[in-house]
């Protein structure tokens, strides 16, 4: 891509970004609708190109290399498309049953180990070690996992010991939620800071960034105050 086209793409990218940021203003406006439909059109186009390229590289090249069994992937794929046909929709049931069957096998054959057995095994540890802090960690984890599990029992009355463990579990869960909320915020902030960093590096981008921010803020307010925002935005 030549230099001018790349420059134009970067500046367009900056401006369309702040058009989408007008979502934060909370009222409909045409800038936001333009950004939304731009992404819907271009994004779907990219997934079509990548999806069909994957089919070509895997199935077609595979058959050319002698893997003739892969002809079934093309056959099943075409049958899957009947899913939206008003009369012959039932044709898609065969490939659906096949893909859901293999999908179930793939997830169930390993999920029992990674998400169930390994997690239980990792909780069953010697509590006392010669490091006091490690003892505190291990007791906290063991008590938290057990009590929070009792909080999510539905088909039995939580009375007696179960009542107290589920109450303790609920409080410990909210401590966990507080820590997790903060970690999640760090991640989201990292996304925003990372993107703003790319809009101010190299520094020639900074004036375009500040100008786009100002233009879009003013436009959002004007579209709202004049009532044009509702009229000119998408249905």
């Amino acid at each position: 891509m030549n230099e001018f086209l790349e420059f134009a793409a970067v500046v367009m990218g900056i401006f369309i970004s702040f058009c989408m940021y007008t979502t934060l203003y909370g009222k409909p406006n045409p800038l936001r609708s333009w950004a939304e439909f731009s992404y819907l059109g271009a994004g779907t186009g990219v997934s079509v190109v990548i999806g069909l390229t994957y089919i070509w590289n895997t199935a077609i090249l595979g058959m050319q290399a002698g893997d003739w069994i892969l002809i079934f992937s093309i056959l099943f794929g075409l049958m899957m498309l009947f899913r939206v046909h008003p009369t012959y929709g039932y044709i898609s049931r065969l490939p659906l049953a096949f893909t859901v069957g293999t999908g179930l096998a793939l997830s169930l054959r390993t999920q029992i180990f990674t998400a169930f057995i390994r997690q239980i095994n990792a909780t069953i540890v010697k509590l006392w070690t010669n490091v006091p802090l490690e003892f505190v960690y291990r007791v906290t984890i063991a008590v938290s996992v057990i009590t929070i599990l009792t909080f999510f029992l539905y088909t039995m009355e939580l009375s007696g010991p179960l009542f107290w463990t589920s109450r303790v579990g609920e409080y410990l869960m909210y401590i966990g939620f507080g820590a997790i909320f903060a970690q999640t915020f760090m991640g989201r902030l990292g996304l925003f800071v990372g993107y703003m960093e790319s809009l101010t590096t190299p520094t020639w981008k900074t004036p375009y960034t500040l100008a786009s921010a100002l233009i879009c803020l003013i436009a959002a307010i004007l579209f709202d105050r004049t009532g044009l925002g509702e009229k000119l935005s998408a249905g």
């Binding site: 999806g51 997830s107 990674t114 970690q183 999640t184 990292g190």
Partner: protein, 287 residues
């Protein structure tokens, strides 16, 4: 009566768009005029670097980019710092994408690594091969893990991978390490169908939202090291002595956190000063 509660009511019920304006200012400000405040280095990042230091020249690492372009914005410091270490060590890379937007990443990433690839004569085809978008779903991960060459015949430009260093790879167990950069996507499937099957060591640079989940995997021994979000990447930049986008963003990171803390304090003052007495209800799902 109308304005009873005055300042406290305003602190409890202000227009939340002021939070948005404040966040824009405290983030863009230090990015345009960096201050360069100090940062602490976590034990988690030191362990991540130690794990990478075990690699030898010629080792083949499976570098799995399980991130959209947007996820790369958060993981950029960790991606660049880790790949600088790979290039300096002479590790060979097999790069795969877990999202269709991955096709936009190599030009962006290798433009930032140009100084390293030139200095160490690190070239595509010889030292790294991009096999492209090969993880559209779990079945594709499992198939590739079991029989690599039956499922990957060409690289992302459509050129054959025969006769390259990837000839040594028959299945997921032949990689010296998996280096994953993830917003979620195929990471769980890689753990299930490669790590669990072949015990291949796996280090993960994860976005903040997935850190709690990966802490459970780290504790269960499913992954060997974890680098958390932008901040982990900035710490790694510091440890390898190569400042980049991570360290540059740390001021904005600090102010972004402090701005939320200030708004929380304001909200609590308003809550005790007005909400409790007025009987109004805070709109939140916490009991």
């Amino acid at each position: 009566m109308a304005d009873e509660g005055g300042i406290y009511k305003r602190m409890a019920t202000y227009d939340k768009r002021w939070v948005y304006v404040a966040l824009f200012i405290v983030v863009l400000g230090p990015l345009i005029n960096p201050i360069g405040m100090p940062i602490g280095i976590s034990a988690q990042t030191r362990h991540y670097k130690a794990e990478l230091d075990t690699l030898q020249e010629g080792d083949i690492v499976f570098s799995t980019w399980n991130m959209e372009f947007s996820g790369y914005m958060e993981l950029k410091p960790g991606v660049l710092a880790t790949h600088k270490m790979f290039i300096e060590k002479g590790v060979k890379l097999c790069i795969a994408f877990g999202h269709f937007e991955g096709v936009a990443l190599p030009p962006e990433i290798f433009k930032q690594l140009k100084k390293w690839t030139d200095d160490y004569d690190y070239t595509e085809g010889e030292d790294y091969i991009i096999i492209g978008y090969v993880f559209p779903n779990e079945a594709a991960v499992a198939a590739l893990a079991g029989d690599f060459h039956a499922n990957v015949r060409v690289d992302w430009r459509g050129e054959s991978i025969e006769g390259t260093f990837l000839d040594e790879i028959q299945n997921g167990g032949d990689f010296a390490m998996i280096s994953d950069y993830t917003t979620g996507l195929a990471t769980t499937n890689i753990i299930r169908h490669i790590v669990l099957e072949y015990d291949t060591p796996m280090v993960v640079n994860s976005i903040g939202v997935s850190v709690p989940g990966h802490l459970a995997n780290l504790d269960a021994g499913l992954i060997t090291a974890l680098l958390a979000s932008t901040r982990g990447g900035a710490e790694l930049e510091f440890l390898i002595g190569s400042p980049g986008p991570g360290l540059k963003s740390m001021d904005a990171f600090t102010f972004g956190h402090y701005s939320l803390i200030i708004f929380i304090i304001i909200g609590n003052i308003g809550h005790y000063g007005w909400t409790r007495r007025s009987g109004a209800r805070d709109r939140t799902g916490i009991r």
